[in-house]
Amino acid sequence: MLRYLLSNLLLLTICSTFSWAQQKAPEKEQSLPPMVTAIEPRPFKLSGIRLGADIIGIGESLFDDKVEKWYLYGDIMLDNALFFTLEYGLQDITRSGEFTLTEDDTRRYVYQSDGFFWRGGVEYNLLAKESTYSGLYIGAKYAFAQFDQYSSYLSQGSDYWEEPSEQQELREENVNAHWVQVMAGIKYRILGNFYVDLSTALGVPLNFTDDLITANDIPGFGLNKQNNSKMILQMRLLYKIPLWKTKVDITEEQLLERY
């Protein structure tokens, strides 16, 4: 349910972003004083550091006592064009319940995944020339997760070996998962130095090393369905540390001299 709520929230944000993007051009024209504000053409320069956390994960952690997802995000901004990102997350998820295998076979199960992930890569803002703060970006990242798994299951037993059908447990430690993801997203400055970061990524598994228990819920990757590629939704709140200015003020004469 929470996912659908978040999806709707995402759509709303997309719509508002669309409005922002459409209104941005006239805004520029109206604010041209004799002393113009312009983005100085120069090679990429360090322009900011943003830190943040995944809002979806925080929401799930707060509203579902069987989910702990604490994902941290940081990026280094080169102007508002290139972002070098690094993420770290802790995740502890427990699922349990009954499921119906066949009409007359209802079983109980427990699955737990507990671990961390690192994810790093680069993002490029497609609207770098049009916006000083916000952006519509694409990116590519590499991710690595390590986690422990536990599952309680109904062992079918064996008539031949005279073994009964009974509930058993299995634990697997230090499961590794490597994947890459290509992504697209929006970083929208909502207030001062605060940004909302919405993105969707296509996660492509490289190597999932589960031996005993299917790596079903991978920190940072989410639900894994038969090691197939999948879409990963992310929604973060970011804060930009105000250390660098990204604009310079120059006169009209200086601007004309340069061009």
């Binding site: 995402l10 699922r95 295998l101 199960y109 109904l154 064996s158 073994e163 299995l170 969707t200 228990i213």
Partner: protein, 333 residues
């Protein structure tokens, strides 16, 4: 252009919210073993006399061949190293397996189920490293073994719900260049001690060829002799003649039936013969094909039994054991 980006992003985000699972049928925990001819990789059908599994703590009963000419070996849910013995015609080989219990998590709404993965074979039990390909050296029946993973490649197997595709293929060499043996070995035994006894026959011959004896008194006393069977025939009647102390000839005849073109494991050549002779049986006095029979009206012999029903190139093992009459005690006269 910007609008397109945003719509695309929105659609992808909606896709991200979709999660589902495909219900799967749990496997029944049995390894499918098929036997193949290494010369052409064709399946061969072998009816083992017995196949049974054992572990360090338990020995199971016989496992029959299934309807698809495969053997489906049950895995233990409590141990991860077990062995299976395949026995046929006095020969046997042991297949040692190692594997790991595995839990398939089938998505948030479809639960989980147990299966077995990383299935491999050990040549000589638990002292060897598990392997997916084995060339047997000192085996009596098996030539080599290959294990296939769930994608059909050579490698550790995962037991899934497929009950027909082989997890393990065992190759048994075919005796393509060896002619089937035709020599039926008949031996004589004491009915009380079950030890070999010597007999001096005047003649032993096929009933329809009295003038072409198989054995004569010139051979002296024998404990056993060989009868050449003819492929295509279905029975043979032997007439045994022995000279009594009073000089008269006493005789008794025994009829055997057999089949041609059956598959056997030749224990001397160590390979499979598809056109061998076997299914050897005795015909009792009331004309019933059986594995052992008494001769109530027999003069020379008390009884007989089929000791080995296949005609094999290893002729040190008798096919037929004939028990001689006990000498009549003087007091009984």
């Amino acid at each position: 252009m910007r609008l397109k980006y945003i719509i695309l992003l929105g659609l992808l985000s909606l896709l991200s919210a979709c999660q589902d699972c495909d219900p799967q049928t749990p496997p029944d925990g049995r390894v499918v073993v098929r036997f193949l001819d290494p010369s052409d990789n064709d399946d061969i059908t072998i009816d083992f006399d017995s196949v049974y599994g054992y572990s360090t703590t338990f020995q199971g009963g016989n496992i029959p061949r299934d309807n698809n000419d495969a053997y489906r070996l049950p895995l233990s849910t409590e141990q991860e190293q077990i062995s299976f013995v395949f026995a046929i015609q006095g020969l046997q080989d042991t297949l040692h397996l190692s594997y790991q219990k595995k839990v398939i998590i089938n998505g948030p709404d479809c639960g989980n189920f147990e299966t077995f993965g990383n299935l491999q074979a050990l040549i000589n039990g638990d002292t060897d490293q598990a392997q997916s390909i084995i060339k047997f050296r000192d085996s009596a029946i098996f030539d080599s073994l290959v294990i296939f993973d769930e994608e059909g490649s050579v490698g550790p197997a995962l037991i899934n719900g497929d009950t027909t595709t082989a997890n393990i293929r065992i190759f048994i060499a075919n005796c393509t260049d060896v002619s089937p043996n035709q020599e039926m070995v008949i031996s004589f035994f004491d009915p009380v001690t079950d030890t070999p006894v010597s007999k001096l026959f005047e003649r032993v011959y096929r009933k329809e060829f009295p003038n072409r004896p198989i054995l004569t008194s010139l051979a002296g006393e024998v404990t056993s002799f060989i009868v050449e069977l003819i492929p295509g025939e279905e029975s043979i009647t032997l007439v045994f003649e022995e000279r009594a102390e009073n000089g008269l000839i006493e005789s008794q005849q025994i009829t055997f039936t057999f089949s041609s073109n059956i598959s056997i494991i030749d224990d001397f050549e160590g390979c499979l013969q598809n056109e061998a002779l076997g299914n050897l049986r005795l015909i009792s006095e009331d004309s019933i094909g059986i594995d052992s029979t008494a001769f109530p009206s027999g003069i020379l012999f008390d009884s007989a039994l089929i000791n080995r029903s296949i005609i094999n190139s290893n002729n040190t093992i008798p096919n037929v054991k004939i028990f001689t009459q006990q000498p009549t005690a003087v007091d009984d006269l």
